[in-house]
Subunit: 206 residues, 2 copies
């Protein structure tokens, strides 16, 4: 009854520790910069032991990216076509900014992958990502057509939300160098709120 292939508690724990350590290392050093030894050390395992759980370095990386995409798209997926346009979009912006604060390693892992030409998730970008953006861009275009938000290019609006919010994770080192003692996240929420409020609010008719 206990000799089957059911995953042990230890197995689950070690797999999780490996993925956690790998996220640390891959996001900070990129795929090529990372070493299996480094990941194993960070996970508290020996190198061969790590390779008992994952067949290769690439398999660890793939497992991370596969789990990441859904997490990354969730906030956009949550954009409600039947909600108030300005509220929905601002809520999306704030969720994304919160993710940059809480999950900067995930953001950097993603940025590393895109920056180097998306060799491992290019297909997902053209498939899953494009489909979702198409769907939500149509919603935004509808809001524009109804005059409920100011006129703008829906897909570039989405790009601007991605770039502004993820910048606070991906370029954190630079932001801190410029700001000195001030934490970048102290004023970021108010700033992006102001920016998108002014961008999206249609001019008062009269």
């Amino acid at each position: 009854m206990d000799t089957g292939p059911a995953p042990t508690r230890i197995q689950a724990r070690n797999r999780a520790a490996i993925l956690e350590a790998a996220l640390d290392v891959f996001s900070a050093q990129g795929f090529r910069g990372a070493t299996v030894d480094g990941i194993a050390a960070a996970a508290g395992l020996s190198k061969p032991n790590l390779l008992y759980y994952f067949p290769s370095k690439e398999a660890i990386h793939d497992a991370l990216l596969a789990g990441l995409l859904d997490l990354w798209l969730a906030p956009l997926r949550a954009l409600d076509p039947h909600g108030d346009p300005l509220e929905e979009l601002l809520a999306y912006v704030h969720r994304k900014l919160e993710m940059s604060r809480e999950l900067p390693r995930e953001s950097r892992l993603f940025a590393n992958e895109i920056l180097q030409g998306a060799p491992r998730i290019g297909q997902a970008l053209e498939g899953e990502l494009k489909a979702l953006v198409d769907e939500k861009a149509a919603v935004i275009a509808g809001w524009v057509a109804q005059g409920r938000i100011a006129p703008l290019h829906p897909r570039h609006l989405i790009f601007s939300i991605w770039s502004l919010t993820q910048h606070y994770a991906d370029f954190d080192v630079q932001n801190r160098a410029v700001l000195g003692d001030e934490d970048p996240f102290t004023h970021a929420p108010a700033f992006v709120d102001t920016l998108f409020r002014r961008l999206l609010t249609p001019p008062a008719t009269g």
Copy 2:
């Protein structure tokens, strides 16, 4: 008269070819992902011949980054305190966007370095970059105080200009995946122009 250490025409040409090739390779694969062999092949030289011109792989990378920082800061440096605020800032935005279009490799080289914690240019960020941003942020704060542009956090404004414009270089693959056949740069200038115009224009007084 020709036995001195004066650099030959061939020397200058080969050095330039190496830096050009290195920019290709480093920006696409990161420092660790790049190989000296790959750079040498792209430059049309043998590996030992390349190492005759630069003592090490790191020396090539350093030479690239050193030449890059001034180029990268030039548009912000050109912001004229005595010009029209909205015009000056929009001109800055468009210069940066133009650089993303014309020099995407430089943008990606920089992004790779920042993303991985700026191990090689951290000092320049806290020195040269911070000093320039401090200076220009004071100019922007003055414009805000005079009511010539809408109130906002000057340094976060600068962050937003960086992130929005550089996004078109660094995340180009993703943008193209989402847009399909449409070139990202077709509508980018109009979009960022609209965005910053709405952000910066003070509400009409009445």
